[in-house]
Symmetry: C2
Subunit: 436 residues, 2 copies
Amino acid sequence: MKTTISVFLSAWLFLGGSAMAADKSPLPADESTPDALGWMQGFPPPADKTIRFSDPDYFAFPKLRWTVCHFRELMPTAAVRNGNDGASELIVDLDAGLDAVEFTPLDGDAPMTWREAFDANYTDGILVLHKGRIVYERYDGCLNKQTLHGAMSVTKSLTGLMAEVLVAEGKLDESAPVSDVIPELEQSAFGDATVRQVLDMTTALDYSEDYSDPKAEVWTYAAAGSPLPKPAGFEGPRSYFEYLQTVKKKSEHGEAFGYKTVNADAAGWLVAKTTGTSVADYLSSRIWTKIGASREAFYTVDSIGTPFAGGGFNATLRDLARFGQLVLNEGQWNGEQVIPAKAIDRIREGGSKEAFAKAGYGLLEGWSYRGMWWVSHDGHGSFSARGVHGQTVWINPAASMVIVRFASNPVAGNAANDPTSLPAYRAVADYLMSRE
Amino acid sequence: MKTTISVFLSAWLFLGGSAMAADKSPLPADESTPDALGWMQGFPPPADKTIRFSDPDYFAFPKLRWTVCHFRELMPTAAVRNGNDGASELIVDLDAGLDAVEFTPLDGDAPMTWREAFDANYTDGILVLHKGRIVYERYDGCLNKQTLHGAMSVTKSLTGLMAEVLVAEGKLDESAPVSDVIPELEQSAFGDATVRQVLDMTTALDYSEDYSDPKAEVWTYAAAGSPLPKPAGFEGPRSYFEYLQTVKKKSEHGEAFGYKTVNADAAGWLVAKTTGTSVADYLSSRIWTKIGASREAFYTVDSIGTPFAGGGFNATLRDLARFGQLVLNEGQWNGEQVIPAKAIDRIREGGSKEAFAKAGYGLLEGWSYRGMWWVSHDGHGSFSARGVHGQTVWINPAASMVIVRFASNPVAGNAANDPTSLPAYRAVADYLMSRE
């Protein structure tokens, strides 16, 4: 029983964005790739180089660096079908000058180059689009052009965007209480929250994602969302839907930003109830079949096949770049308005800076959160999707630039990679703008 | 623990081809579709309409009829990537006359029409290609043009074909003992069997797939292949590779055909050792990326990600038809020799009829088994891949015809659907030949 429970837990450590205790001096990037460590090579792989879903550390560094590319082989998933017309062309127009672009990390005073940041952030793949052309593309670790990688909390921004599309199209009322759309949530904390409060994560939830606290609600959530059979005698919630119904309210909605993954799953449920299809199928029908994605994407699912709208999305880096370009283009793809520009405008305008400030993100002063996107208010209109080990969709409208990144930073939390990422994105934008 | 074990077992009941005890008068086809029974509809589905991997009956009729299209959402899988150029064109030239084609079932004397056979066999989808054009295509139950279905033991024929490709290309020696390729199998029954004996299933194995016998070896095999975490204290084999090493020999190899799924997994291991890639990746590189498959296919996997080469393949019906056409075309696709004709010739020539007869398949008198395909010696040169609930790739070279079928017959065993299938295939072939 104990083993089974620990499997539930280890299986879902990637739920959120909190920083976990990490090795003080982890192996550097080039010494911790799956190839360097020999994970899962051969038929069969050696016993001490085998990674299983039941390993308590399957999602801890350094196994993490293999696992982020292999979720599908470890757990059940739901497909996000792409179209039948093949991959859309991405013009490659590499700029060899990018590697030397310099910036100063937020926490240092010595300059660092774009190339150095690649390893510093344990990057598995990064791609820069400028005016729709690939100007930079580099892979390492478990990733290549054709393989998929876990997007972690970048998933939330996909969920949020789908909900914003429904709001923009008048199918989902952002001012309605959630219980109007999901009667099952009436008695929960979400019942009297508005759709907008869920999308902006200003709900007031008695819910902790502090992984260092064994009593934190996230553990019950993790067990509920685990696809594995529950141990005999298990009486807790058995799915995301069941868990969300148990979340209790704490103080008043609308006052403070609180980054809690359950909001994204509630948003996914809003999308499902509004459209009659899961977020996986809706993402497929609205976006993944429209942008010439090169491969099917997927979501990890719970024991009843519900896509994990808070963190379960996986895709290729190039397909994530296509998605980013669609967002930069205000929903247009090849001249077709695939999703309404208004949905993206609502995100770009940002949320309440005051509510955001209450969450105390020191490195993100002046930012806000809207529709499950992080809005920087940086003067370039940059906004982004962010995942726990460095996954990113960074959109800089002023520079007509999209940066997408998959990474497997040993530290679970963007505070670890923001110092060597945020100023780097700005430096690359400035560089690209200066070429014109 | 008991629950966990039962999950292992129920999870892998689809391993083989033995007939299981079934409801004497199951619901008819039109009353047992997932839509008719309301499985997994809504967010969330009602509790009594929910299907989980941990349900002991998740793969028993009638849940079976939903599950065959949803393996991916229940268990871990490995992708078989398709190409980036989009789906290849399949010319649709439907012949409305086919539905009325009559035949006499093997076990009856009243004629039945092709249309009637569709329901009699609990068909989820069937497609007939004549000279490469779709002359018939019908879906029901959980399947449509875009969704995937479990191929069950049709998988074995894909595995066998890959091995035959390697034999034809001189990369795998059919006369070599298996232990030459897989040293780990030296002490097992496979050790002194030849590659050819494995591919033709004339190995002599002390291994029973009699599901009615609780001591049958198939149960240990099922537990080994289950992707689920093993219960505390579990000391048995934990993967297909580990299980295969435990199989004992019984009498002499080469004398009798014995349809045992473990041979297919041994063949999959031969492919992996020879190519350095899994059967999933090899199938992708050699075939799935070459024939314009419309979607990624996949295999279910064990706890270390090994594709289930004996029964885990899933694909769309149209992609299975593309595959069948490639085989009919002796390995050519759009003028390119994708795989060697010799590999298919070796299958078409058949195996030992004498060895086959010893297995006592009353309905398949005069047949043989070669390279994990069933060879009918019917005068049309027909040969086929067969799955436990009626899955079929039926190739009739004389009629330039390919029939592919996905089904979810309540009875696990082709004896249940052969009487209303084999003469139907012949009648359709005769009809198509008579049109010319």
